[in-house]
Symmetry: C2
């Protein structure tokens, strides 16, 4: 298979971990006779530094015209702690999501057997947990109108949703539930928010087309608690953008490290693959960042194009790395292995 | 001391647990020679059923003219799953918060020694954790304009904040931090939301008056993760309404049961005390609901009026109940004790 892949290493540890994902994909291409062409481009703080724009036109065009996008991470504290900054790295990512129409962010959560002990949660709570979060990605408060008055004393964010936006991701989530344990949990705050009530109504309607899937509802405050009290109760979780942001990071604790979780963001035509962790600027250049989430993002990419066998080899390689404890310090505090060594292990295994 | 206390038992298990809180307060009044006058009033689904209004005028007037309000819980699934319901129990609570100007909700989180094993988190993660969440309670998306178009296909919620709203709760939180371990963590989503950037700016400004308090910032997605990974890092957490709703319920898992956590909501003149759990309709009337959160809400009430000795007796009684395992099934699955028995134990201890 020929694939053209746009690579956006981004900020902080992004470039280091993405390098390991590329190494894995190169190894796959060689062994299985594919041709993967990578083209790197700027996004995030690095793009602001070089061009003034967090998502340069060139990067956007590249992403629109490739088969897939592989993203590292973006974000830089020099913008976070400056409430007056007019341009921010995150604007690049949000614009990219919007322009590529990536309306569904999908994050599978499943602990690795060999890592059960690395989780802050007790073994009996997480063993057997296996669920997927469907987070709406191009709507809600992320994209609604924002205001700040001239005196800088009043601010607002508008959260908006339309039936259509809810319907399309709901179908994806129900279809996924049909292939899994046939349970879908809608998370919202319908006792307070109008948008949540719309979500509830539309999801109830969509559910009529999936009579074999059991639908239930949880308020987001309760969901934040249930994820930790009893994660095994979940199969597919469906939620809006901001709730999904919070809950999917929270759910990462089930696996012991956020450094293990990839996600895919899907649109009608485009797909973006990334680790769910941030740019972790404190670790930049130290060869300590965990590359597994990025490597697994590459595996999700392969799966997306039907290269299941190839993806499985990567999953296997990652499992072995974990089993042999060729892991970074987030998983084993006294580990002697760094970002590079873990990446080498995986690509050599392939 | 003479205190007039408005009691709003509310829905579901509210009346049962509130009864135990009242019993504890009666016992305190007798032993320590106080006069507590209770007046019950309707709020929530029960108020809708009887008057059509989730917060009848009479209830509001009572609350405005008492020293304190003691609340059970409100909410009923018959409204939750009906996105078209025009009147909802929660409207009563939100209106009460607004009318009483209860802008700060304060939830202390600290695991009981005897209950460390009841938490889904590992002992080493939670032992020693001790923090307080300051949640803004009368602003944000809870109270902003809501819209739904006529076709029912587009909905919106507006999240708004003013400098003044942020300033007043920030002062409370910083003052609390000064009396504690002098660390304040502001939780927001300043990389995306305009209101969060206003929060960050205003809190930075307020912090100048508290040079002895160390201020740091966390994005809400990261905070949801850190609460579980390492709750000991927190001292005082300050956040807006909806984030506070989610994070404080999430944080309850640290103590092993949401049935143990009380909260106080403060305004300039008024104060409301309640368990943080919901109305738990499935348990209604079964004598299985944990009354401890309500009893501790009563203790917070005593503390609020300077009755520290009396409050401490209640804390002691609760600790003993837990130590002797006179607890409900949420804490001990094979327990023979119910709501009533736990309440009796506490009031007899006093
Ligand atoms: C970087 C930030 C804007 C982003 C988000 O909030 O969506 C990140 O947290 C994520 O989850 O991908
Ligand atoms: C009942 C509901 C409206 C309320 C809230 O969201 O504030 C509750 O969850 C709480 O935290 O007190």
């Amino acid at each position: 298979m020929n694939l053209k892949i746009a690579v956006l290493p981004g900020d902080g540890i992004g470039p280091e971990v993405i390098l390991q994902a590329k190494k894995a994909l190169y190894a796959i291409a060689e062994v299985y006779n594919h041709e993967f062409v990578f083209e790197d481009a700027l996004m995030g703080a690095v793009a602001i530094d070089k061009t003034g724009n967090p998502l340069p036109e060139q990067t956007l065009n590249l992403c629109l015209n490739t088969d897939a996008v592989l993203l590292g991470a973006i974000g830089d504290p020099k913008y976070d702690n400056n409430p007056n900054a007019k341009v921010r790295p995150e604007q690049g990512l949000l614009k990219l999501r919007k322009e590529l129409g990536l309306f569904a962010n999908i994050r599978p959560i499943k602990p690795y057997k060999a890592l059960i002990e690395a989780s802050p949660l007790k073994r009996e709570i997480i063993e057997g947990a296996d669920f997927t979060i469907f987070r709406e990605l191009t709507g809600g408060a992320y994209f609604g109108a924002k205001t700040l008055n001239d005196e800088g004393t009043h601010a607002s964010d508008l959260c908006e949703y339309t039936e259509e936006e809810i319907t399309r991701i709901a179908h994806l989530a129900f279809k996924s539930a049909q292939k899994r344990r046939k349970k879908l949990t809608m998370v919202d705050k319908a006792n307070v928010l109008e948008t949540s009530r719309l979500w509830r109504k539309v999801v109830q309607k969509v559910s009529e087309s999936y009579p074999d899937v059991k639908l239930d509802f949880l308020f987001v405050d309760n969901a934040a608690m249930q994820l930790i009290l009893n994660p095994k109760q979940f199969d597919v979780i469906l939620t809006e953008n901001l709730f999904g942001d919070i809950l999917s990071d929270e759910a990462s604790v089930i696996t012991g490290s956020i450094g293990l979780l990839p996600s895919v963001s899907l649109g009608e035509k485009n797909a973006l693959f990334e680790p769910i962790h941030g740019s972790y600027p404190q670790a930049k250049g130290k060869n300590i960042a965990n590359p597994i989430a990025s490597i697994l993002a590459a595996a999700l990419l392969l799966e997306h194009f039907g290269l299941t066998k190839e993806a499985n080899v990567i999953y296997k390689a990652v499992e072995k790395a974990i089993e042999y404890k060729v892991v970074t310090v987030d998983l084993k505090p006294d580990s002697k292995f760094g970002t590079n060594e873990v990446g080498e292990f995986v690509s050599n295994f392939i």
